[in-house]
Amino acid sequence: MKKFMNKAASMVAESLEGFVSAHDRLVVFGSDRKFVRRRHLTPGKVAIISGGGAGHEPMHIGFVGLGMLDAACTGHIFTSPTPDQIVAAIEETDTGAGCLLIVKNYDGDLMNFEMAAEAVTGRHGIETVIVSDDIAVPGPPRSSGRRGVAGTLVVEKILGAAAEARMDLAGLKALGDRLNTRIRTMGVALDGVTVPDTARSTFVLDPDEMEVGVGIHGEPGLSRQKLADADTIASMICNTILADIDLQNTDRALVVVNGFGGTPTPELYLIYNIVRRLFEAKGISVARSLVGTYVTSLDMAGLSVTLSLLDEEGLRFWDSPVSTAALQWSSPEI
């Protein structure tokens, strides 16, 4: 493991400081540097707050700004932020209309956000949307259920735009829950990942192996398989996704091909090229796409494909202007 860093313990803090200073027209640190928030808050708008462990950048800090998040709380690498960070973000960004917390489904994040929400009960209106788009995980009953992965960015973009359009807290909660039922993601890794703290890789693959059904914390996936060519990998992913969701005639699809940090963009576009064709062959109208490195697992080589089935409203919110470090558009690509 070679990294540009000084000490593992200070890596996240140093990097956050660089981020905030590079984007100082967009964002500022919250009190005690517990979170990053928009420089300019909008009174009367529901505040959208998310967060999670570090190591997934640009998510979530890269999504703070007009049209998306109001604040993001970053924990240590692959470790949820703590309730005091989230409480501080709520207190500083709630301008009266309440706060919507967007949480990736994973017990650590859930519990920390829950403790924060409990701590501010009575003082702030709080709703929580839990994102659980990772179909690689054996679903409930009784287990923790599916992880929240790259689909989180779709939820954050759309709810961010809806909040900007002054949708109220209850409306946002309902929209978010509905969205979450129409988003599916599956990921494949070509290598494990080394967490700077321990300097050990989470799993090690042979040169001809890939790990299928991985999340974004370097944890092992659902199965280890023989490395296949791009066509084979793409169709395995698409088939697994399509087996898990029922298509409706009115759906328009947003397809996200997301790199995990160590996979260069051309490979992502290559996969997108196959995936788009496969989806279209199943009668899905691919109306929008996003290809890039957005929801990462440090420098892991690998990628995930996300299928989001949107209605007209969802599409409109996706297209709405956004101005953040990682996503920027006025009207969609013109």
Binding site: G75, M111, M115, V137, D197, T198, G215, E219
Partner: protein, 204 residues
């Protein structure tokens, strides 16, 4: 008989030492079925508590325990932070409102239930609860400290046969079977450290 001050200081030091020594082992366990950071997380928490030990040991025992719980919540993060934090916060709060120490097994039982609610977890889910429940049972039985510690260690080992239903390891499905749960392991380590300390400095 020790003062609260000595007791709190002794327990903080014992727990801190146990975690620092075994942090790498805990990460190793977490790498197999999680994200490899349980040792790092626990060490960060124990170090935050350790740094604050002078202030903590000046507090009455119940407040000291509750404050330690809050420090853990604010420094550990991840899944283990809220869980260990809830355990200690609940113990501390309840200790503060009860009359005598004889209630401790009951108090622990209530605190463990709070942990289970916080984690939406049950016995057999392959988590630290699979050590906490048996430890609590031994306490109800008023077992000797050495037996409580032994039961904790055995219980942690038994999680190897379980399929994880909660936490990151649950994402692995059947592949989680065959590995000891890191949270159960840290819980056994702490139980043993506490029991050993109490045996040495507080002989019954």
């Amino acid at each position: 008989m020790q003062t609260d001050r000595e007791l709190v200081l002794g327990l903080i030091e014992a727990c801190h030492e146990a975690i620092v020594i075994h942090a790498d082992d805990l990460c190793e366990l977490d790498r197999a079925i999680g994200d490899g950071d349980h040792g790092t997380n626990m060490r960060r928490g124990c170090e935050a508590v350790y740094l604050d030990r002078e202030r903590l040991c000046s507090l009455p025992l119940p407040q000291a325990i509750e404050t330690i719980g809050m420090t853990l919540v604010m420094s550990v993060g991840g899944a283990s932070g809220p869980l260990y934090g809830t355990l200690l916060i609940e113990i501390g709060r309840r200790l503060g409102t009860r009359e005598n120490e004889a209630d401790f097994a009951t108090i622990l039982g209530e605190a463990v239930d709070a942990v289970a609610r916080r984690g939406r977890a049950h016995a057999g889910d392959k988590t630290l609860l699979d050590v906490l429940y048996p430890v609590q049972t031994e306490m109800v039985r008023q077992s000797a400290l050495i037996n409580i510690a032994k039961r904790a260690e055995v219980s942690a080992q038994l999680t190897a046969d379980m399929k994880a239903m909660r936490g990151r390891a649950s994402f692995l499905g059947d592949r989680s079977i065959g590995h000891v749960d890191p949270g159960a392991s840290s819980c056994a380590l702490l139980t043993t450290a506490i029991c050993r300390y109490l045996r040495e400095y507080r002989p019954a």
